[in-house]
Symmetry: C2
């Protein structure tokens, strides 16, 4: 029997949390503080959208959960590291994340920098371990594609671009590129990782990649919409910061109506790419809708 979307996302959250707890040990050593900070920030909840994408895409190819939950945890480690570093005073200087004090507020700046570094490193360790996949070819590809997605040509470059955008007016193509790098690349990797684990053929990979690019952008537009409509309590973080800083967003450039329309079009297209997967693609179809309909 096919699971409902709610059951599937709850299960993905449970698997990811359990894997994270297992993979980030508690420590009694004098350097325990870095492990505490790693656990604090990764286990603070969150939607677990990216891990869910890994697991749901891997499920299309009947990948064992022992494999996909490890990759899901690695992706969440990378996402969390990026949040920890982005929240630092020298970057976005945020005090609140997932409804809790940010890592550098709860611990200190040095610990936050190191916890981010260690999470990024641990993610690669997990991907490269035998347990993640018995074929070294698969592990090596998981590492390579992750590194490409999150480095200076991907996520980190997107964050640099975001800082640049504080003093430059971006147009829609520029902001699309920024978001593809800053948030889209890791979302796309999450889907790609499921396909890599599943040894998907080229055609299947391209379709999942197109799906991922669409929902990545839709996710960001939804985020911009929530940023002006939701409260900090609902979001668990500061809202309205982009607008206050006069920063261009999809919403400021397109207006609320057109931005909302654009997100719906992207989601509609995204689901079309799933046709070859038949009923098995239902969870990913629901997920695409969830991305734009979520309230936080």
């Amino acid at each position: 029997m096919l699971k409902s979307f709610d059951e599937a996302i709850t299960e993905a959250q449970r698997l990811t949390d359990a894997a994270l707890r297992r993979l980030i040990p508690e420590s009694e050593a004098p350097e325990a503080r870095v492990f505490e900070a790693m656990r604090y920030s990764t286990l603070a909840g969150g939607k677990r959208l990216r891990p869910f994408l890994v697991i749901a895409c891997a499920d299309l190819f009947n990948v064992s959960r022992e494999c996909s939950e490890r990759v899901a945890a690695a992706v969440e480690m990378v996402h969390t590291y990026s949040l920890i570093h982005d929240d630092l005073p020298a970057m976005d200087d945020d005090d609140l994340r997932r409804g809790m004090p940010t890592c550098h507020k709860q611990f200190d700046e040095a610990t936050a920098i190191l916890a981010g570094d260690a999470l990024l490193t641990l993610a690669f360790e997990v991907l490269a371990e035998d347990k993640t996949h018995r074929q070294a070819e698969v592990r090596s590809e998981l590492v390579l594609e992750m590194a490409k997605a999150i480095g200076a040509r991907g996520m980190v470059g997107g964050q640099m671009l975001d800082i640049w955008a504080e003093t430059h007016a971006l147009d829609v193509p520029e902001i699309t590129r920024l978001q593809r790098m800053k948030t889209g690349a890791l979302i796309a990797y999450s889907c790609a990782a499921g396909a890599i684990l599943g040894r998907a053929d080229e055609h299947q990979r391209q379709l999942l990649s197109a799906y991922a690019n669409n929902i990545g952008l839709a996710f960001q537009i939804a985020d911009d919409l929530l940023d002006i409509s939701a409260t900090p309590e609902e979001m668990g973080k500061a809202t309205g910061k982009d607008a206050d800083a006069g920063k261009a967003t999809f919403v400021s450039l397109l207006g609320v109506e057109r931005a909302r329309d654009q997100a719906m079009i992207l989601v509609d297209q995204a689901t079309k790419y799933l046709e070859i997967f038949g009923e098995k693609g239902n969870i990913l179809r629901d997920l695409a809708k969830f991305v734009v309909e979520r309230r936080s």
Copy 2:
């Protein structure tokens, strides 16, 4: 004909620099600043001790230079990322590195954090690429052992421990553990990577690992000695900071004489592990001596 030590280290520096220039592209994009910072900090010179170890160990097994120079560059990227982050105001707050302004001084803190993150990520990308080794098994092992060496149980944990040591008095076993993690782990990885590339057998690996552990510790003792005897100009960075901060070092705990003796004993032992490599081990023998006899 066997090369002299001076020729060998100069060649390793040249190969590493060329590989770094090739692997860290220049960019015209708006996010170019992060690439500039990556190039600035990696191409600022330095002894290139770790890349030299990679190449010299790989040479024992006749690994092609096209492979070993890439791994050497990856190791130097990781070393540089660790320096960039350690120099940040929230960490050691250093203004000078390799005789030049530190990354956050030359650029800004946000750029320095991102450049470090991107270098760490790029190192893993380079290790996982086909060009590094045709066998995925080798690439995957290079990634795995790197991640283990530099994460919370290795280099990053060592840095956390170093911060902890600011408020705790360490004894010799504790400081040995700290240094094994903070600087020893990446030095040991540099040797291990050569052996992995060369598909060395278990016995050869163990000997190289013992060699690496000894010179890693000897290197740190030599560093502590230079920290009290060399000038900032000679070292290209601030000196005497540990003593000023009342931090325990091998020299403060053992005294200059015993520390120097200890370093010599470690180097002497290190060279013994190289016996099975015969004449081919000469470069590594000279390197062990260089580690304790260097003037900066």
